[in-house]
């Protein structure tokens, strides 16, 4: 009897054990299914914003490939203030490059504006390399009480929006008679503190002991900067360049305030001036403006991400 009970108990135990392992397996499988289903649901939710990003680009691309007549048929209602809705075809009925041809071969002004933009961006970035990168190295390699205070000032300056500093910039540009020249845009941007902050993030990631070791080995401070700092901390300055390109390719407030002469304007300011009557033209110009930004975005994406992460680092 006793044995029987014992046996029974063990048997029940075994059975129970089996049953529990069974539910365990089931539960695991259930969790797996739930996870997969969760991911399957998440995916469309995550892709929805993706659609919101891709559709505008497709809209611009397809619009740029329509001839003016077809485009007019679709969006005519916008500039005639008609009562019917806008319509669209992602694949134009009569695809043509005629607007591109007009823009690229018959509109010399467009080239002027394009090169204005390029010149501004490249000059600004070159200037930032010369002034901001060494400054960032100074802050990262020679920490001290004075440098901390100064760095805090840089951070505050970085966070002030253009509108707050607009009047001060105007006053100094006026005194230097830079107004209505490209220098009015270039110089204030060269001395912006944002690239200092980003490059600082890259330089700060170099272990301090490494610099000390180089010093012990007798390397001069300039050698350390050129041979150690620049190669090891390049991610910071490259991300500053990528973010800088996207920012200055998109210049608006500064040229609007400081450049009166339209032939000096960058593309970003000229583009919105094209009227709906020349919509086909506007679409092409938008695409051409978009191309360099997309190019930099694609080749610089890792640095862009890195730069965002650096900009989020506490000092």
């Amino acid at each position: 009897m006793m044995m029987g009970v014992g046996k029974n108990r063990t048997m029940m135990g075994v059975r129970r054990g089996r049953v529990t392992t069974g539910t365990g397996k089931n539960r695991k499988r259930f969790e797996k299914v739930k996870k997969a289903a969760g991911k399957g649901l998440l995916f469309p939710i995550l892709l929805l914003p993706g659609l919101l990003v891709i559709l505008p680009v497709l809209l611009l691309l397809s619009g740029s490939l329509m001839d003016s007549w077809e485009l007019g048929g679709y969006i005519g209602t916008v500039f005639t203030d008609g009562s019917e809705f806008i319509s669209w075809k992602l694949f134009p009925d009569y695809p043509s490059f005629s607007n591109y041809g007009k823009l690229l071969f018959e509109t010399p002004q467009f080239f002027v504006l394009f090169w204005n933009s390029m010149k501004l961006v490249l000059c600004i970035l070159a200037g930032q390399l010369i002034f901001a990168v060494p400054a960032a190295w100074g802050f990262a390699a020679y920490p001290g009480r004075g440098s901390q205070g100064l760095f805090a000032l840089y951070v505050v300056l970085m966070l002030l929006p253009f509108q707050v500093t607009m009047l001060s910039s105007y006053l100094v540009l006026n005194r230097l008679s830079f107004l209505n020249t490209h220098q009015a845009i270039i110089w204030p941007a060269v001395f912006s503190t944002f690239p200092v902050f980003l490059s600082y993030g890259g330089f700060k990631s170099i272990p301090y002991q490494m610099l000390e070791a180089a010093r012990v080995d007798g390397a001069g401070e300039l050698t350390i900067f050129v041979r150690l700092g620049l190669p090891l901390g390049k991610s910071g300055l490259l991300s500053a360049m990528v973010l800088g390109f996207l920012e200055y390719w998109n210049l608006l407030e500064q040229p609007m305030a400081f450049l009166e002469d339209k032939s000096l304007w960058p593309l970003s300011l000229y583009l919105p001036q094209i009227t709906w009557g020349q919509a086909g033209f506007a679409f092409c110009a938008s695409v051409v403006t978009l191309v360099p930004a997309v190019f930099v975005f694609i080749i610089g994406q890792d640095y862009l991400e890195q730069g965002i992460i650096y900009s989020g680092l506490k000092e």
Partner: protein, 285 residues
């Protein structure tokens, strides 16, 4: 040794600092001085300029709208970013999804605005879509709302701000989430904490540091929304989206430099206080 280092610090920092002094610091002091003088004569007028701007309807409206925009846009952006980041953190291969979210950052505003005009025009794509949806569901008729010329413009602006900056915040949140130690999460799991519990009790409290950073950067970027606002609606848009930036620009165009100086000092002062406060909060943790 210390002396030598200080010398090199100066060598590296000074050229840039000189430029910053010339182009930012010195002229700002000039602006502070000007905020206490009359625009034309340059005579000292005390706090009169400040009195004038605080009785100026346009200034009060712009301040109100800017505050309203910041208080609506930033919480929405920050929480949307957190939600996306939490969803994304489970994926192994998230590179290209991140790229999609980041892409609007690269799109020049001028091109975006062109699309926005087609979308939000009263016969535009959004109303077309809504009308079609209404036809299918039978719930409503044709929609002919004008989004850019009415108070709805404010929400177009908020949406545009989120659209542009979401990728930025998602990356920062993901970095924060990636920084939480796996051991801690594992320990919570072993102790029997469910998914939601782990989220509320472990993940979110550990993201406080990221929150400060993200709020600051979103704030910084919130001023750039002026580009979209100006390009869609010009210098005098609907009242609901007349921002401080519009006001500064219009004062600049009209050469009302005395008011501008006073407003720049006020805005700069408020911003500096906010930044210092947040810095203090950072250090306390």
């Amino acid at each position: 040794m210390r002396k030598k280092r200080r010398r090199f610090f100066c060598l590296f920092v000074f050229p840039g600092f000189f430029g910053i002094t010339v182009f930012a610091l010195a002229p700002f002091l000039d602006v502070v001085k000007r905020s206490f003088t009359a625009a034309v004569t340059g005579a000292f007028v005390g706090g009169k300029n400040y009195q004038v701007i605080f009785q100026n309807q346009a200034f009060l409206l712009a301040v109100k709208n800017t505050i309203r925009f910041t208080l609506t846009g930033i919480p929405l952006l920050v929480s949307a970013g957190l939600m996306v980041a939490l969803m994304l953190s489970g994926f192994k291969n998230k590179g290209w999804i991140k790229s999609i979210y980041l892409f609007p950052l690269a799109m020049p505003t001028a091109t975006v605005v062109m699309v926005w005009k087609l979308v939000f025009y009263k016969q535009g794509f959004l109303n077309l879509f809504l009308t079609r949806a209404g036809l299918v569901t039978g719930l409503w008729g044709e929609v002919h709302k004008d989004y850019l010329g009415t108070a709805a413009a404010f929400w177009v602006l908020v949406g545009s701000y989120i659209w542009k900056n979401l990728g930025y915040t998602v990356i920062l949140w993901l970095t924060g989430i990636g920084g939480i130690s796996g051991e801690m999460l594992e320990a919570a799991k072993v102790d029997g904490a469910g998914g939601w519990q782990r989220l509320w009790r472990v993940v979110l409290p550990n993201l406080k540091g990221s929150l400060f950073t993200i709020v600051i950067l979103s704030f910084l970027n919130s001023f750039k929304i002026y580009r979209e606002a100006y390009l869609t609606a010009g210098a005098y848009p609907d009242q609901s989206m007349y921002l401080l930036q519009h006001l500064f620009n219009n004062w600049f165009v009209n050469l009302e430099l005395d008011k501008m100086a006073a407003a720049a000092v006020c805005t700069g002062g408020v911003l500096m206080l906010a930044i210092l406060l947040l810095q203090r909060l950072w250090e306390d943790r």
